[in-house]
């Protein structure tokens, strides 16, 4: 889920509006094409072609066009809907965690007058963002195993006596959401903090003079003005969440199969490709996921407003 920080950063930078070009010279045009070509080739090779190839595979079987057969087969697979459910519940838990806590923490950090304290907090929150992938899950394996966990008292207070208990189906979405939150929240807090800094001080001062307390200010002024950013966070996290892979995969390995190898949709696509040798089915699942991600991103680019141009 490392993409979150990156895209979060983008959003911040994207507020800037580029100036329009004034004159077009042929020399400029030529160097523009020259400079843009290598990137365009990569864009085609690793952005557009793979998507087209997945479309081709998803609608064919042994080279012959089969319509939606691959999709139907995948939808009828007994593992598909449970995987959708797993991913869905995880996303809901994660988004709630993100929205509530990131907004709260950002407003709290922002309200701290002591500059060093606020800076330190933001930095500390952001550190885990440096970890992602297998290493962050590895770290959480230790935290979740009551026999070695630094917070075993907390696990026991929650009724978790063993590692198997910690990754029990009923707790797993929360566990995965906590891991994702731990890794990604800091980046969002920094972004939200920047958004808060953008709110005109006069507006808030006026509200204060009118007798509004910090909670009232947060609720009526700050949060509405952060709306765009919150929406951005939710949409990006939603898209990222559907891609769940490394976390349940490593947990499956560590729990000896208690967390299924077919827990998430990407894992299922993986099994189709490498256990069943069915690349067509695998491509069908990938395409479903890709369609969700592209739809979200197109919606955001054209409707979300963050990238509006003058």
């Amino acid at each position: 889920m490392s993409t979150i920080d990156n895209s979060a950063a983008t959003a911040a930078v994207a507020l800037e509006r580029p100036k329009k070009g004034m004159s077009v010279e042929r020399a400029q045009g030529r160097i523009g094409v020259l400079f843009a070509t290598p990137y365009t080739l990569f864009l085609i090779a690793f952005g557009i072609l793979p998507a087209l190839y997945a479309i081709y595979l998803a609608f064919t079987k042994k080279g012959a066009f089969v319509g939606f057969d691959n999709f139907l087969k995948v939808f009828k697979d007994y593992r598909f809907w449970p995987a959708v459910e797993h991913v869905g519940i995880f996303i809901i838990v994660w988004l709630v965690l993100l929205v509530v806590l990131v907004v709260t923490l950002a407003i709290l950090v922002h309200s701290i007058g002591l500059r060093w304290f606020s800076g330190t907090m933001r930095f500390v929150y952001y550190i885990p963002g440096a970890l992602a992938g297998a290493s962050s899950v590895m770290l959480w394996l230790f935290v979740l195993d009551p026999t070695v966990s630094p917070v075993s008292w907390l696990l026991q207070a929650l009724g978790i006596e063993s590692f198997v208990g910690a990754v029990d189906a009923s707790r797993l979405p929360v566990v995965l959401a906590v891991i994702a939150f731990w890794t990604g929240a800091g980046g969002w807090i920094v972004i939200m903090y920047g958004a808060l800094n953008n709110i005109s001080k006069d507006v808030i001062e006026a509200a204060r003079v009118d007798g509004a307390g910090p909670v009232r200010i947060a609720w009526s002024i700050q949060i509405p003005l952060m709306r765009k950013w919150i929406a951005y966070m939710v949409i990006m996290s939603f898209a990222g969440g559907t891609q769940l892979f490394v976390e349940p995969r490593v947990l499956a390995q560590a729990s000896r199969g208690v967390v299924g190898q077919d827990y998430s949709l990407n894992q299922l696509a993986f099994l189709y490709a490498f256990k069943q040798n069915d690349f067509n089915g695998s491509a069908a699942i990938s395409l479903v996921l890709l369609a969700v991600a592209v739809a979200l991103s197109i919606y955001f680019v054209f409707k979300g407003g963050l990238f509006e141009r003058a």
Binding site: T3, Q28, V33, L43, G129
Partner: protein, 304 residues
């Protein structure tokens, strides 16, 4: 980054009513609790390799072990399959640095071209970049795998390096940077002095773009370093980078894979050490770059 608005919160503590003071204290408490949540697991990870498995199981979680144990854990990790961990780390460095070089070589000129020049298809390229940039990178892993497999590149280091080098976010970041931070007048002035387009780019634009090169470099490096899914499918075995290697290591830890009961396995402490080694490069880069990054990330937000 601008200072927090001290006016809003009124730092003059003595002006606060007792209720507001309590509220403030409660807020600070929440912040500290979350600071602990974010940092405690990392602190524990720093301590774990100094202990034996037995100490991990029995002793207080934050009791320090000793340097001798650390050395023996180090030893056992280093001797695991003849220092395979260094092969993995070396692979990671190779893939990420190569991808970094290519990323910079294609992204910076492309961002410059999008921002400072006009050419046919510029708008389209920009919109497509924007869309692709927002798609999670994992969404394309299996399609990219299938494509690379069709051209028989799987197992070749290029199968990680090339996809790693495609970094639309970096292009967009550069585009934003040149659009806002570098004045077109400056470039025009250079042109009037008779500089060619190439010279304008190399002599004027490049020297100004150090900050964005650093930013793109950082995001590209950390993102690729932490990438698991793509190299996991494209570079199996000894060619795997450290993130994939870590997960492989896991299957040799008896605590997580008990049917391996031999004495030649990896202990929990050694696994903790391996995790630490795997995150060390990113953590270091991060610590050095943090001030810069945080300001870079909020740059848009604070400049009005």
């Amino acid at each position: 980054m601008s200072a927090p608005n001290s006016e809003i919160v009124g730092t003059r503590m003595r002006d606060l009513t007792p209720g507001a003071w309590l509220g403030r204290a409660f807020g600070v408490l929440i912040l500290i609790v979350f600071a602990l949540f974010f940092v405690v697991p990392l602190l524990w990870l720093l301590i774990a390799p100094t202990k034996t498995d037995r100490q991990l199981l029995l002793e207080a979680p934050f009791a320090l072990g000793d340097i001798g144990t650390l050395l023996s854990n180090w030893q056992s990790l280093m001797t695991f399959q003849g220092g395979l961990i260094w092969t993995w780390i070396g692979n990671s460095v190779f893939y990420c640095v190569a991808a970094l070089v290519i990323t910079l070589c294609i992204s910076i000129p492309a961002g410059y071209a999008l921002a400072m020049t006009e050419f046919r298809g510029r708008k389209l390229l920009l919109v497509v970049t924007l869309i692709v940039m927002l798609i999670p990178s994992t969404a394309l892993v299996l399609p990219i795998f299938l494509e690379l497999s069709a051209v028989r590149l799987i197992g070749n280091p290029l199968s990680a390096i090339l996809p790693f080098s495609f970094y639309p976010f970096g292009v967009y970041l550069t585009y934003i940077y040149f659009s806002t931070a570098v004045s077109r007048d400056l470039l025009s002035a250079a042109r009037l002095d008779g500089a060619s387009e190439w010279q304008v780019f190399m002599k004027i634009a490049m020297p100004l773009s150090t900050p964005v090169i650093a930013l793109v470099g950082f995001f590209s490096f950390t993102g690729n370093w932490n990438n698991y899914f793509l190299p996991y499918v494209t570079l199996p075995g000894r060619k795997a980078p450290i993130q994939v290697g870590l997960a492989e290591l896991l299957s040799n830890v008896p605590a997580f894979n008990p049917t391996n009961a031999a004495s030649t396995t990896i202990t929990l402490s050694a696994l903790a050490l391996a995790t630490l080694l795997a995150i060390a490069p990113v953590l270091l880069v991060f610590l050095f770059a943090q001030r810069y990054l945080v300001s870079g990330m909020t740059a848009g937000g604070t400049k009005e």
